[in-house]
């Protein structure tokens, strides 16, 4: 065994760290433009990022950023509702948009020759969206339906409770989708005002990655975006979360036969020096994840070994992600039938205490660092992913943060990891959530007309 112990050579790290391959300029109107020329496939990916997410929302208006994102597909004088879908699809492109705590992002990946289309669309919808009242009403029910889809999942119902209990004051309190009452009462003008407040070039980042020539592309970008006027963006202070003074617990009861446990601790901002040892500790406990989502195998991780190999849980995971302000560090268990939540929770605490009492092994540290590296390389292959990383870093952290990511992970020590466990994974800083199944929907009862052909 142990045939393989050599490390993955540093030069294999993606070219992201080579700053000369990334061109970054700011236009006079404040728009940040990031260009990543790469000729690995005849494709370009265009990402438009806005520095607005649920972090910028106030009580009574939760979910408004995500709803604005939906409305950006609902028409300008130039592009009527639904026309992007057709125009991009007919060129063979894929597109989507996403809203989360710190950002709203729109992307299109399509054959390189068609890059003008997404550039024109993004420039146009930055300022010209109509928010027609009938479109707003139709989208209200679409978003309520999206929320219903999430509510159908026990793990969403539980995580919404845990999140809003762990964070009481900071707007990370609520889910990005928003509370149903707000989704019923937010008006057309509320949405339009939110759009006008945050959608301006000085609050945005445009990333283009793929098969193009940088100089030509920069000229093109200027043609579409340089004439857009900058605007004052709201600078309202975001309330800091007060310290937690003791363990918090929530219980959710719902359908099914499966019990879930979620424990959330307060994490640090992505730019905090403790973020990197947290990433390493997270990998030791639950396996490394690729940057920005997507999990590696975690079957040699401590949680898997303790909780899944013992037969207590079917799944055991943890997650930490880069955010502007301190968000949460999540631990999740799916309990096997007949295994009590108390037992799963006790075993999770045992693993955490072990980390507090003794440092991780040198092998565990090496493995975590290698995993993080390998997942960077897998992700770097896709043009869409590269554009995503570059834009994400601009909005949430900084280009320097992304360029140094692998080195800072590699520099983490075992002592730091132990200190992180002692400082952040404390019982009095935890919010513990139990999903207790009520026993409904426990078998596939199919009520039908006999399953036979009826006349």
């Amino acid at each position: 065994m142990n045939r393989k112990q050599q490390s993955i050579p540093t030069q294999l790290a993606p070219a992201l760290a080579e700053s000369q391959t990334v061109t970054r300029v700011q236009l006079d109107n404040g728009l940040t433009v990031v260009l990543r020329e790469m000729h690995t496939a005849p494709v370009v990916s265009v990402w438009m990022w806005y520095r607005v997410g649920s972090r910028n929302e106030r009580p009574g208006y939760t979910g408004i950023s995500h709803w604005v994102e939906h409305m950006l597909f609902k028409g300008t004088p130039k592009y009527p509702p639904g026309s992007y879908d057709r125009l991009i699809s007919r060129e063979g492109g894929v597109f989507n948009a996403m809203t989360w705590l710190d950002y709203t992002a729109y992307f299109t990946t399509l054959p390189a020759a068609k890059v003008d289309l997404p550039l024109d669309i993004e420039a146009d919808r930055m300022v010209n969206c109509l928010f027609a009242p009938e479109e707003v009403e139709r989208e209200r029910t679409v978003i309520l339906s999206e929320r219903s889809m999430y509510e159908n999942r026990p793990t969403f119902v539980l995580s919404e409770e845990v999140q809003s209990t762990a964070i009481k004051v900071h707007p990370y309190h609520h889910e990005t989708i928003g509370w149903p009452t707000d989704l019923r009462t937010i008006s057309r003008d509320d949405l339009y005002n939110h759009y006008r407040a945050y959608y301006s070039p000085n609050n945005a980042v445009l990333v283009v990655a793929g098969a193009f020539h940088t100089e030509t592309m920069l000229e093109k970008v200027k043609t579409y975006f340089a004439s857009i006027e900058p605007r004052q963006v709201p600078q309202q202070p975001i309330p800091a979360e007060p310290p937690q003074r003791g363990e918090r617990r929530v219980i959710v009861r719902g359908a099914g036969d499966t019990a879930y446990l979620q424990v959330a601790f307060h994490a640090v901002a992505a730019t905090h020096p403790d973020f990197f040892p947290m990433v390493v500790l997270d990998a030791v406990l639950g396996g490394a994840k690729s940057f920005g989502g997507g999990g590696a195998s975690n079957r040699s991780s401590r949680l898997y070994r303790a909780l899944v190999m013992s037969g207590v849980a079917a799944d055991a995971d943890c997650w930490i992600g880069p955010t502007i302000d301190p968000y949460l560090w999540w631990f999740d268990l799916t309990l096997n039938e007949g295994q009590p939540l108390e037992k799963g929770e006790a075993m999770l605490w045992q693993e955490i205490e072990r980390l507090q009492n003794e440092p991780i092994t040198p092998e565990e540290l090496t493995k975590a660092i290698k995993q993080v590296r390998a997942h960077f390389i897998y992700g770097a292959e896709s043009i869409t992913n590269q554009a995503r990383w570059l834009g994400f870093a601009e909005v949430v952290t900084s280009p320097k943060w992304l360029a140094e990511y692998l080195d800072r992970v590699a520099a983490v020590t075992r002592e730091e990891v132990q200190r992180i466990a002692q400082t952040y994974l404390r019982r009095d800083q935890a919010t513990v959530g139990w999903y207790i199944p009520t026993g409904q929907n426990t078998s596939p009862i199919v009520e039908h007309n006999g399953g036979k052909d009826t006349p």
Binding site: M1, G92, E151, G256, T258, Y304, Q371, I377, D453
Partner: protein, 438 residues
């Protein structure tokens, strides 16, 4: 490396760029060199799967496949996990309907070792009893979670109604009672009787040299021989009348709907017209005509789309949507109206051109990654579509006419005799009652 001013040509996978080799034991190897990043994907398939398992042991094939990964003669499950995780690599063996799917992701420098480990899993599994008990428990938990998932249950019920007792009617994962029944003896026997390289394939895409990879595969799998597998299937019978079912799940916020018909085997000559018809019905843009009406015009759903699946035997062609219980009836009407329209109204030249351009133009995006390339090459090989499939793909799509679409819609989409499954809270008017009105 490519210099910035000379964009490299982007060859398509074709008989000229895919290196092929067949081992004497019948295993076919396809290598496509793609030196973008120093990584590799292996996407393989061996004839195997749930279609060969007895109905009372539904889930046996999936359990058997998963057990291969849980320890070999020389490596325990734990050691395998430790080794793979330390390299940031993964090997997954999954039992499907018709295949044992092999998926490897690793850095190029580790491929040789990954192939050796995979060969051990396939040829010398240990089948440890404690791992079997854990796997079974995990599987039962997943099934339990499925029983509480409206979308999964609507699709499961749809499949049962559509296929009846045919093996395609069963979930690959199995059911609670059938999985509980499976023993390690069943697993050992199923492995001995079914797993074979004959008729299997390995597609390898990434930063590799074809010659070296083929040599390595020959070293580790060349002298492996398995049983002769009878791959014949019972015929699928096309339902001749309405079939409907509702799965009551009262605790849920919305209801999932699946409505559709049998499609065709993947290599049927009507497959391409059917793909074009399906793209129009529920794929293009935001869910095609269905998405346009249910989501964009009526604002009733976050998702409303159609899906087309083909296999060795006819797959399914179905629309799916998640809506509030009070909108179930109206949504079903819209899905059926749009099916009728596809049969009765010829598609306009513009709309047809749009859909064809999408299907042709999206190919480069699908081929952007090793994983995408391996999956497309894998399909060409598995369904015998020919390695020149991508070269002729555009012509095939462009040749589909408005009349072809109406013809396939008439043949495969009957708005009076369809299969309907719903799962979620009971609506005031149940979809079953509604659906039985002719």
């Amino acid at each position: 490396m490519t210099s910035p001013n000379t964009p490299q040509r982007h060859p398509m996978p074709s008989p000229d760029t895919i290196v092929t080799h067949t081992l004497p034991n019948g295993l076919r190897i396809y290598v496509y060199e793609n030196p973008t990043v120093p990584a590799v994907v292996v996407d393989g398939a061996l004839p195997f799967g749930s279609v060969y398992e007895p109905p009372e042991l539904n889930g046996l094939a999936a359990l058997t496949a998963a057990m291969l990964r849980r320890g070999t003669r020389t490596h325990s499950f734990d050691t395998l996990n430790e080794t793979l995780d330390a390299l940031g690599a993964s090997i997954e063996l999954t039992g499907g309907r018709h295949a044992l799917d092999i998926y490897i992701q690793c850095l190029s420098e580790d491929l040789s070792y990954m192939l050796e480990l995979t060969a051990q899993m396939l040829r010398e599994p240990r089948f440890p009893p404690d791992e079997f008990e854990r796997l079974k428990q995990q599987t039962l938990t997943r099934i339990q979670e499925r029983y509480n998932d409206t979308r999964a249950m609507a699709f499961l019920a749809f499949r049962r109604l559509l296929y009846g007792d045919h093996p395609y009617g069963r979930p690959v994962t199995g059911e609670k009672d059938t999985v509980s029944r499976v023993t390690l003896e069943h697993v050992r026997a199923f492995y001995r009787q079914h797993l074979t390289p004959q008729g299997g394939q390995l597609v390898i895409v990434g930063d590799v040299r074809a010659e070296a990879v083929i040599q390595r595969v020959t070293e580790v799998l060349g002298d492996w021989h398995g049983p002769n597998l009878d791959t014949s299937l019972p015929p699928v019978e096309r339902p001749k009348a309405m079939r409907a079912a509702h799965i009551p799940m009262e605790d849920k916020s919305q209801t999932d709907i699946v409505l559709g018909w049998l499609s065709l085997p993947r290599n049927h000559p009507d497959w391409t017209p059917l793909v074009v018809a399906n793209t129009l019905w529920g794929q293009f843009g935001m869910g095609g005509r269905i998405g346009d009406r249910v989501r964009e015009k009526e604002g009733m759903a976050y998702y409303a789309y159609s899906t087309l699946e083909g296999n060795f035997a006819p797959g399914m062609w179905a629309a799916a949507a998640g809506v509030a219980p009070e909108n179930v009836t109206q949504t079903i009407s819209i899905l059926l109206e749009e099916a009728r329209r596809l049969r009765e109204e010829p598609v306009t030249a513009d709309e047809l051109e749009e859909v064809q351009s999408f299907l042709v133009g999206s190919l480069p995006v699908r081929l952007e990654t090793n994983e995408g390339l391996a999956s497309v090459i894998g399909d060409m090989a598995w369904y015998n579509l020919g390695l020149d499939y991508l070269l002729t793909y555009e012509a095939r799509v462009r040749n589909v006419t408005a009349a072809d679409i109406q013809r396939v819609a008439h043949m495969y989409m009957d708005p009076d005799n369809y299969v309907l499954a719903t799962a979620g809270p009971q609506a005031e008017v149940t979809p079953v009652q509604e659906a039985q009105v002719p």
